[in-house]
Amino acid sequence: MTLEMTALIAGSLLLALGALGVLLVNEAMRLVIALGGFLLGVALLFVYFAAPFLAVAQVFVYVGGVLVLFLFALMVLRRGSGDITLLATRHDVGAAVTATAVFGLLVIALVPESGGLWPVPPDVAGSVAADLLGPRIVPFELAGLLLLVALVAVLVIVNGGDAE
């Protein structure tokens, strides 16, 4: 079994199990762990699709950043691992029908365009750095500006809550 196939199988399993975990668990810490598994699965699928830059960015930004943010949020909200009541779920038929309909629409729209049963990994993409710092310099800089604005917004939101 090649490295790519291993990444595909492990990534698919982590993706599915992580998503089901986020849906089904009632404990906050387990939800974060399930989310981490899902995010690692996405990174492994990026490895399969020969997108190493995206895989590394996924691990650094999501697993190393966003997941830590979730843990901080749980810590600030003072939820221990034994807290099982605050994540109560009210399963709803209307929501299930809506989600199923969206799934059906996505499958109908995308599967005819998706080729064979197993996706074929592409050749290595061109230089991402040359693309980001060349023709895509404006959106790249705007993304940096957006992160700065988000950081300021976080400080304002949290400190504003303290002031009141």
């Binding site: 599915a16 990026f46 830059f53 779920t89 809506t98 499958v107 693309d131 917004a153 939101i157 809550g161």
Partner: protein
């Protein structure tokens, strides 16, 4: 096709989580599921179509950045809401102002 169907299913699971979960942190986790699945779909479909270029990888990176900003602001809003009201479930917020 396997990955496309799987990512579509995960997107739908994320939507279902957003619709049925009452806890704000769990709802944000559902949004993260949807964003991750959308990014996988972007890369997978570009790969299948034979148009996987640096542009696609750049777009995927921008989606990751946007999702990180969304998570940071969203969690800050959750913390501020819980600090102000002591509540963290959507069905406990009954006021639209004040």
């Amino acid at each position: 096709m396997i990955v496309v169907v799987l990512a579509s299913a995960v997107f739908s699971v994320g939507l279902y989580v957003v619709l049925v979960r009452r806890d704000l942190v769990a709802i944000l986790a559902g949004v993260e599921l949807m964003l991750g699945a959308a990014n996988v779909l972007l890369v997978a479909l570009a790969s299948v179509a034979g148009s996987f270029t640096a542009l696609v990888e750049s777009a995927g990176a921008l989606v990751i950045v946007l999702a990180a900003a969304e998570a940071a602001v969203g969690l800050a809003l959750v913390i501020a809401a819980v600090r102000r009201s002591g509540r963290s479930r959507t069905d406990e917020f009954t006021e639209v102002s004040g």
